[in-house]
């Protein structure tokens, strides 16, 4: 640093960013999208008369709508770099709460609000444990899941509750222009979450925290509050999913929609591969949800045995994620 005249130096140098092979890179990154297209093509070719018909597409959409909502909730938490393993349990408890309240004579809107509050509170509690008490999200939400399922059993007394007012069931079973209402709800919620994640200061803070908690904190981001909010919103959105599931089935049990937890995490992971930063993102999650939905519907249509389906599901998830991970391979 002793050199004298470096006046002339401040010119070019150091910048090495190469925007070269963007298209090619995108192709590889899009492994998950490629996987989706391959799946759709495959099932279409196997059953051209069925697979892409209006009825069947509607079917798929209907089947994944609630998973899409819960995966949306999971996306929010995973953007922040955490997990929420209690989303499925929370949705079941919310459905059960709404059900029990309605059967107890509450008006439908009040029962729904109560169930949403329950979801919100569970989310809040998760948030407090993770953001304020610094528990690992994994263990906190795992334990929460256990307790919440227990609560759901208490609320339903171990039975399946049913016999809801028709206007409640309508939420899950009604149609608008031939399309079931839950599909609209899923779309609306996804768009809202996408907007929040992309365009609000809260969403951007979540992304920053997901990138580095420490740098965010030192840059003046209120990390705790933002994480708390992420979990709270996830609890709330999961509750919406659970209420719709109860309405869709016309019944509520403590373990209802259990597999949504696992599939929501899988969907988010599948979706993480489509962006360069490798972060959770809503569009990707929806691609992941679509893969899961198409796979299950297509295998059913081909009449594949349930156990074989399960084996194949695991393999397809691994294949899709591997495809996208190939680009990251370095020595």
């Amino acid at each position: 640093m002793t050199s004298t005249d470096n006046q002339k130096s401040p010119t070019t140098t150091s910048i090495v960013v190469g925007h070269a092979s963007n298209a090619g890179r995108w192709m590889l990154q899009g492994g998950t999208i490629v996987a989706l297209i391959v799946l759709v093509l495959f099932f279409f070719l196997m059953r051209p008369d069925v697979f892409l018909t209006f009825v069947n597409v509607k079917n798929i959409l209907y089947q994944v709508s609630i998973l899409a909502i819960i995966a949306g909730a999971q996306t929010v938490v995973m953007v922040v770099g955490d997990f929420d393993l209690s989303v499925g349990a929370t949705s079941a408890l919310a459905g059960a709460t709404a059900a029990a309240a309605m059967l107890g004579g509450w008006p439908v809107p009040a029962a729904i609000v109560l169930a949403l509050i329950v979801g919100l509170l569970i989310g809040l509690l998760n948030g407090v444990l993770v953001a304020y008490l610094n528990l690992s999200a994994f263990i906190a939400t795992l334990a929460m899941m256990t307790s919440v399922v227990g609560l759901a059993f208490l609320v339903t007394q171990g039975t399946t509750l049913f016999n809801f007012p028709p206007e409640f069931n309508e939420l899950g079973q009604g149609k608008l222009f031939e399309i079931p209402l839950p599909v609209y709800f899923a779309i609306i919620i996804s768009v809202i979450l996408w907007f929040v994640l992309r365009y609000t200061t809260l969403g951007r803070r979540w992304h920053a925290i997901g990138g580095s908690v420490e740098v965010s904190r030192l840059s003046g981001v209120n990390v705790r509050r933002a994480r708390l909010l992420a979990f709270t919103i996830a609890g709330f959105v999961s509750a919406i999913g659970g209420i719709l599931l109860a309405a869709r089935l016309g019944s509520a049990s403590a373990v209802q929609g259990e597999d949504n937890m696992m599939f929501s995490v899988a969907a988010v992971f599948l979706g993480m591969t489509i962006v360069r930063s490798g972060a959770a993102n809503l569009v990707g999650t929806m691609v992941g949800v679509a893969i899961i939905g198409v796979m299950s519907n297509g295998l059913n249509i081909l009449g594949v045995n349930a156990y074989v389906q399960q084996v194949v599901t695991g393999i397809i998830i691994i294949a899709a994620v591997t495809l996208s991970s190939l680009k990251h391979r370095e020595r």
């Binding site: 640093m1 050199s3 150091s14 951007r204 803070r205 740098v215 840059s219 003046g220 981001v221 930063s277």
Partner: protein, 511 residues
């Protein structure tokens, strides 16, 4: 503007913009700060100096609400304040650029610059247009027009990342701006930019605290300096009234020796030979390093120096050429383990992410690189680990409570010594060192230079990358300059000419 520009007269007003009185901070029994005093006036650049572990970074974290002090008071413009967290400090106009913590890799450059409260928004909705505009303006103000706003910050070079972090600190409209070793990973070009910005800020009345181990910088840039030692205040005085040797001796609490030891004599025996090596960025690089020789490698940021060392250490594969150590030709991707067995060891560039496991003890860190030596038939010997750890701690004078202390608790300089210790325990024939003294105080620097010489005298070949020309010249026997991955010049270090080296750095090729 040049680095050696005349300092304009500064007449600071009397009320300090930020002052700390009797700050005490302990970490698990370590007294990081013991009644530390510090104050900075508006319109001055105030250097905060001290050896590694003197407590500078800790003080900064307390001044900005990251840590709560165990005792003492902080005053902002003469009023007592209690910064509960970074946000409160920022809101009070106190902003820091922390040591070794820069950017969020997974979000865009623009977002990195306008993080948190700075994000332009209306009703909670981010105004992206506004954000890009302001981020662009910030980058322009530090002459970094080439950094793409929409790129992910993680895709930038380390230098660019530092500049982005700096842009963020500037974006907060700070009244007190604290910079903890901002130049550690910068080259001259960026340092010039940085300094001119800092001077402009000072002239607008901003109080600037500047931490650096590069004392030349301090003398070029700063108005006053405060020296800390062992967590306490030693002296505060005008830079104009200070002399560099005096500063050094106050920092280390003893008389500074000459920084660089005398050069030794390299043997004729070749330790490592590199022939036509090609990597991702490195192109057709050939050279030899001899036993007992210190071979310095210079170049601009991104010129491929680190990649060259990574390839030699087996951490990255090469696509062409060969590497010969003694009489073994290394395969194209030997892996670090094989390279270590062949006698090549690397002290990497990023200490915290590549050099040490922060959450592990000193002895566990040292053991990781020495698993073959501390084990028999797959079983590890605790006694052997203990022996090499104690030897490392003694030889390198590592300042630590015990061999079981976690490395994350050590100061930067001592962390670097741990990295050295673990590699030296392998008794390498060729020692690769990437920026061996980055972020290290003068006292420790001198120790490391002496150590390098001692190793050379014992017959080790040392290949060391440095971004600091005086260091490169002072510690090496011979210097290779890389430019865009190719060797642009090779010169003997003795009596090497700064300007010539720089011209090679900027792409002039040796005839």
């Amino acid at each position: 503007m040049t680095l050696l520009e005349e300092r304009p007269e500064v007449r600071p007003v009397d009320v300090p913009a930020l002052a700390a009185h009797d700050i005490v901070k302990r970490f698990d029994g370590v007294h990081a700060l013991e009644r530390a005093q510090f104050s900075v006036l508006p319109g001055e650049i105030h250097a905060l100096l001290g050896e590694n572990g003197a407590g500078k970074s800790t003080l900064i974290k307390i001044l900005t609400g990251v840590y709560a002090p165990d005792g003492g008071t902080i005053y902002r413009n003469g009023e007592k304040v209690d910064f509960a967290n970074v946000r409160v400090a920022n809101a009070a106009g106190v902003v820091a650029l922390y040591q070794e913590l820069s950017i969020i890799p997974t979000i865009s450059v623009a977002e990195n610059i306008l993080l948190g409260e700075q994000t332009p928004s209306r009703g909670g909705i981010v105004q992206w247009g506004q954000m890009r505009k302001r981020a662009k303006a910030q980058l322009e103000s530090i002459n970094q027009r080439k950094i793409p706003l929409n790129a992910l910050a993680g895709d930038l070079s380390p230098v660019q990342q530092t500049m982005v972090a700096f842009a963020r600190a500037l974006a907060t409209d700070a009244k007190v701006l604290i910079l903890d070793e901002p130049t550690a990973s910068l080259t001259d070009t960026e340092i010039v930019e940085l300094f001119s910005v800092l001077r402009a800020l000072r002239d607008r009345g901003v109080a600037i605290v500047y931490v650096s181990h590069r004392l030349e910088e301090v003398f070029q840039l700063c108005d006053r300096l405060t020296i800390m030692r062992n967590g306490t205040h030693i002296v505060t005085k005008d830079v104009a009234d200070s002399h560099i040797d005096e500063v050094i001796s106050l920092m280390v609490g003893r008389n500074a020796n000459e920084l660089f030891p005398e050069r030794g004599t390299a043997t004729d025996e070749v330790a490592i030979e590199v022939r036509h090596l090609d990597g991702r960025r490195v192109k057709d690089v050939s050279f030899v390093a001899r036993k007992g020789e210190v071979l310095g490698i210079g170049g601009l940021a991104g010129s491929g120096r680190s990649e060259l060392l990574r390839i030699l250490s087996g951490a990255q594969k090469h696509v062409g050429g060969e590497i010969v150590v003694g009489d073994t030709v290394l395969p194209s991707s030997p892996g670090v383990g094989k390279a270590l067995e062949a006698g090549i060891a690397l002290v990497p560039e990023e200490r915290r992410s590549q050099g040490v496991i922060l959450a592990a003890s000193i002895q566990d860190n040292i053991a990781v690189a020495n698993i073959p030596t501390v084990s028999t038939a797959g079983i590890v010997s605790g006694a052997k680990i203990s022996t090499i750890t104690k030897r490392g701690i003694a030889d390198l004078k590592i300042k630590a409570r015990s061999p079981r202390q976690h490395v994350g608790e050590l100061s930067g300089g001592n962390q670097q010594k741990v990295v050295l210790a673990k590699m030296l325990a392998r008794k390498p024939k060729v020692l690769l060192m990437d920026e061996p003294t980055r972020g290290i105080d003068v006292g420790t620097k001198a120790e490391i230079y002496r150590l390098i010489r001692q190793l050379a005298a014992e017959g080790t070949a040392i290949i060391a990358v440095s971004s600091e020309l005086p260091e490169l010249i002072g510690m090496s026997d011979r210097i290779i300059i890389l430019h865009e991955g190719e060797i642009s010049g090779t010169v003997p270090a003795e009596g090497a000419d700064d300007e010539l080296l720089l011209s090679y750095c900027y792409g002039k090729h040796q005839s």
